[in-house]
């Protein structure tokens, strides 16, 4: 920490901007990693979407202190933490003690173990206790926001109903005693006044530790204006880092929903206003939550929720939410405008690589560009890319949608790095633009469906005597027909045979790789383990690259796993790959 700012390892100011995952449970984790499901809350696909599609940098993982009972729990939790960290997401581990109101010795025991376990994970933050209850403060203390109330928050004591509890400061000391030096989140009282009264101007922040982020959960009911934000937590942000957690609409809560403007545009502006306040005051935030009906509509399609279609207060709807407003904010665009992603789904796009722009494309008709050299006009629209030096070049187009849809195009290879502008120019002279960043490399893998799920590519096995076998690494069954059929192809991995005495390589198709530089810049992992990169480069088709990796023998039989690529600090989408033993399936 540096004053009221979180700073990164290089000393640069850093804002946590992320979301919360579903509470971690062993069986959930097992479902995601052992049953082949690739879209669950802890899957690489989900983490990849949070990192790239939402451009976030953190995930909060609630942990029930009563669940942490054995080595399997910690081992599996550490896998999730490593997966998040690998995809450049901070992992915020949060202790929940359901029904406690204030922490008991059980939470202290949890932190003694958890902090010791993760003390060497630099990209982990500890969130010591979720939702301290002001009702736990003895009546004699004069209320939660009184000096005595805040002392109770810090050090615990005997609750109004006679239980002995410990305080937030005590938990911080438990963590430090375990040798962990990472930042710690300390949550305010779970009421609408949050940190009000916790410290006056000029006083030190309430916790005695140099590495504390103060956490609040502003609810719409009580914190709607900048003045209210200032009174409840903004004042503290001038002296210490503050994070707004569980922030967002709770449309399923009828009382809170009633306060949300019923007009979607006005509701969106409220969301944007809050985000702008956080940005202006250097306040980190975690929006609630990466689950259907909150940030996303549905786990497998990764579509963000929207306010556009309206909502019914108190009614749980998977579609309604602030996901698209948040997504637009994180891409510095507008919700109903045009925004660009790379093949991997991130906001930065490589020169010479594919980009996908979503929004009002409004081509004359749906049109596909054919041939290794893509057309510069398709369906009556053209794309121009203006680079950071002001040079404007036409881009080859692979797909242009009529109406509101997507346009797939290739960033001209000559584009200068840095901030750029993309413009769709329609035949009628109208145009629409958006900003993005041109990078040297932004790896992304193609799959059969929206760059998620099983990777597409070819495996080659060469035996010691030189015999070769080739096979596809995934297959799809076409979308079904009929009213209840899924409109999407069902794609599965095909186990890549890895046998003793043979060399197995896999050639994957992707984009954003060709200017990665040397082989040493390109890092590929499968199930978190680095694998050798044999070659990478263009295929000869505009925008399409390939990368060849070797499957090491130690991965034999690992089954279905996530495959990721890092190039110069940029991470790809997580795709699935299956690795077998070379034995026929029984």
């Amino acid at each position: 920490m540096a004053g009221n700012r979180i700073v990164d390892a290089a000393g640069r100011p850093f804002l946590i901007r992320g979301t919360q995952l579903a509470e971690f449970r062993l069986q959930t984790e097992a479902y995601n990693y052992r049953s082949g499901a690739d879209v669950g809350p802890y899957s690489g696909t989900a983490l990849s979407a949070i990192r790239l599609r939402f451009n976030m940098n953190a995930v909060r993982v609630p942990l029930n202190v009563f669940d942490a009972t054995g080595p399997a729990y910690w081992a599996d939790l550490s896998k999730l933490v490593r997966s998040a960290n690998e995809i450049e997401l901070l992992a915020i581990l949060t202790a929940r003690e359901p029904g406690a109101g204030m922490p008991s010795h059980k939470t202290a025991e949890f932190w003694a173990h958890c902090a010791a376990f993760f003390k060497d994970y630099p990209n982990v933050i500890f969130d010591v206790f979720e939702d301290p209850e002001p009702a736990a403060v003895p009546k004699s203390a004069g209320g939660a926001q009184s000096a005595a109330g805040w002392n109770f928050w810090r050090h615990g004591g005997e609750t109004g109903d006679g239980r002995e509890v410990i305080g937030i400061q005590d938990l911080v000391q438990v963590i430090r005693a375990a040798g962990a030096k990472q930042p710690i989140l300390a949550m305010s009282w779970k009421d609408d006044r949050m940190f009000e009264g916790a410290s006056r101007t000029g006083e030190a922040p309430p916790i005695a530790d140099a590495n504390i982020v103060y956490e609040v959960s502003p609810r719409l009911a009580a914190t709607r204006t900048d003045a209210e934000r200032e009174a409840h937590f903004g004042f503290l942000a001038k002296r210490a880092p503050v994070l707004a957690n569980d922030w967002g609409f709770h449309l399923d809560d009828a009382a809170e929903c009633a306060l949300v403007p019923s007009d979607p545009t006005a509701a969106g502006e409220w969301v944007e206003g809050s985000l702008n306040y956080f940005d202006a005051h250097g306040i980190s935030w975690l929006v609630s939550a990466y689950e259907p009906g909150k940030l996303i509509q549905e786990a497998s399609l990764l579509a963000a929720t929207t306010l556009e279609n309206g909502w019914t207060c108190g009614h749980v709807s998977a579609e309604a939410g602030l996901g698209r407003v948040v997504q637009a904010h994180m891409r510095s665009t507008v919700e109903r405008g045009l925004f660009i992603v790379s093949t991997g789904g991130g906001p930065d796009v490589a020169r010479g690589g594919y980009a996908i722009a979503y929004g009002p494309v409004m081509a004359e008709r749906d049109a596909t560009g054919k041939g290794p050299r893509l057309p510069l006009t398709l369906g009556g629209v053209a794309v121009q890319v203006t680079d950071s030096l002001g040079a404007t070049r036409p881009a080859g187009i692979a797909w242009a949608a009529a109406g509101w849809g997507q346009i797939n195009f290739v960033i001209p290879a000559e584009s200068a790095l840095g901030p750029a502008r993309m413009t769709i120019v329609r035949k009628d002279g109208s145009r629409i633009s958006t900003n993005f960043i041109v990078t040297e490399a932004a790896p992304g893998f193609f799959t059969h469906v929206s760059c998620r799920g099983p990777a597409s590519g070819t495996a080659t096995r060469v035996s010691a005597d030189g015999r070769r076998w080739q096979s596809e690494i995934s297959f799809c069954t076409p979308p079904g027909r009929g009213p209840n059929a899924s409109p999407y192809a069902d794609c599965r991995t095909i186990p890549i045979p890895v046998t003793k005495g043979a060399t197995t390589t896999v050639r994957l198709r992707g984009s954003g790789l060709r200017y990665a530089g040397s082989l040493s810049n390109v890092e590929v992992t499968i199930a978190g383990r680095r694998v050798p990169v044999v070659a990478f480069g263009p295929t000869g088709e505009d925008g399409v690259d390939q990368i060849t990796i070797e499957i090491p023998a130690e991965l034999r039989g690992v089954g279905e796993a996530d495959l990721l690529c890092h190039v110069n600090g940029r991470v790809s989408n997580a795709v699935r790959i299956g690795i077998g033993t070379g034995k026929p399936a029984s």
Partner: protein, 363 residues
């Protein structure tokens, strides 16, 4: 008011000055545009002497205040006979690739202008057999004695039925609606020209997951039967929207069988042109036979993927009409979506057009 065209006097070169987003209309070589023709056409368009009994003019079924429709499901001719189909709007008719609801052979406004004058089934203006007296009347009128020679000064005798039709066609081509709030938002960068609700409605209208309205009502003229100078010769599509599904030989009620009346192909029963949605707020009642009274009702029809008529002679499940356009399967709309789509459709209303003196009754 946006000046979208200027013209030089006489029969000289006509210069279109169209707003952004609007291509140049295709004009037949045999009837080039001129201000003089347009002026003559305007007088003729509003002249009730153009009907057998002096009761009706073209403008009777094409009222400026209703975006050149007449607000009736089945308009009446000058002798009181009902027309079987609703009067189509003449707004932007210059861009119509094909004319009327369901005649795939009628492409020329010059040709079409004669239809209401001389049709017998039903009688519209009732002029069949009275061509000579009509021409005599025009010759005798001081206004026309000035306008016809100016418009057709090259003709030996400017007073002909062919020239009359040409003048009407030229006037109709000038009726261009291009400055609705949506146009100002889309082409002129007026960010407040349409509401947030209309903007949301726009994205719904142009999205396949909400029915893909734009697939039939797309492009600058919101119709897939659009033509302009230099446009590709795309096949004109007609659509059965599942408005009816009657038992019996024909699933649609006589005499409105769609382009089947011309092609005689069973699969063409119930197929009609997708009209432009410009000014659609003003063109009620809707559909080819005016059988849906309100825009909300039209939305209900498409939401259901076809109309259900429970009893009476037209009873049937339009949803199950075998000729129905496969795109019309029903749309899942929230109340907010409905409101937004309606706001968008209403943003296509060009109120300037309704008061534009260039198209008003000159008499």
């Amino acid at each position: 008011m946006y000046s979208f065209q200027t013209a030089r006097g006489g029969a000289g070169e006509y210069r279109w000055s169209l707003p952004k987003g609007f291509p140049r209309p295709r004009v037949p070589s045999g009837n080039p545009m001129s201000a003089a023709k347009a002026r003559l056409g305007r007088y003729l368009f509003y002249d009730k002497r153009m009907s057998v009994n002096g009761t009706e003019a073209c403008a009777s079924c094409h009222r400026q205040d209703l975006a050149f429709t007449n607000g009736k499901a089945l308009p009446l001719g000058s002798t009181g006979q009902a027309h079987p189909r609703k009067a189509m709007s003449l707004v932007n008719v210059a861009y119509s690739a094909v004319l009327t609801w369901s005649n795939p052979d009628l492409h020329s406004l010059e040709q079409q202008a004669l239809v209401p004058m001389f049709s017998e089934h039903p009688v519209e203006l009732g002029l069949l057999g009275r061509e000579g007296s009509l021409i005599d009347l025009l010759r005798s009128d001081a206004v026309y004695r000035e306008l016809f020679p100016k418009a057709f000064g090259d003709s030996k005798d400017p007073f002909t039925m062919a020239n009359l039709a040409k003048a009407l066609a030229v006037f109709e081509r000038t009726i261009i609606s291009a400055r609705s709030p949506y146009d100002r938002f889309h082409f002129d960068g007026e960010r407040d020209a349409i509401s947030g609700s209309a903007q949301r409605g726009e994205s719904l209208f142009f999205s396949d997951q909400f029915g893909g309205c734009f697939r039939c009502h797309g492009g600058f003229n919101f119709s897939d039967a659009t033509d302009y100078a230099g446009s590709p010769d795309a096949a004109i599509r007609y659509h059965n929207t599942g408005l009816y599904n009657m038992a019996g030989k024909f699933s649609y009620p006589m005499p409105n069988l769609g382009i089947f009346e011309h092609t005689r192909k069973p699969e063409d029963v119930g197929k009609f042109k997708a009209p432009s949605l410009r000014n659609v707020e003003l063109t009620a009642p809707y559909m080819h036979d005016g059988s849906i009274a309100t825009l909300e009702g039209v939305l209900d029809h498409y939401v259901a993927g076809g109309r259900t008529i429970k009893d009476g002679p037209y009873a049937g499940l339009g949803h199950d009409n075998p000729n129905k356009d496969p795109r019309i399967t029903g749309i899942g709309l929230t109340p907010q979506n409905r409101a937004d789509l309606l706001a968008f459709l209403r943003s296509l209303t060009d109120t300037d057009l309704l008061h534009d003196a260039r198209f008003a009754n000159p008499w």
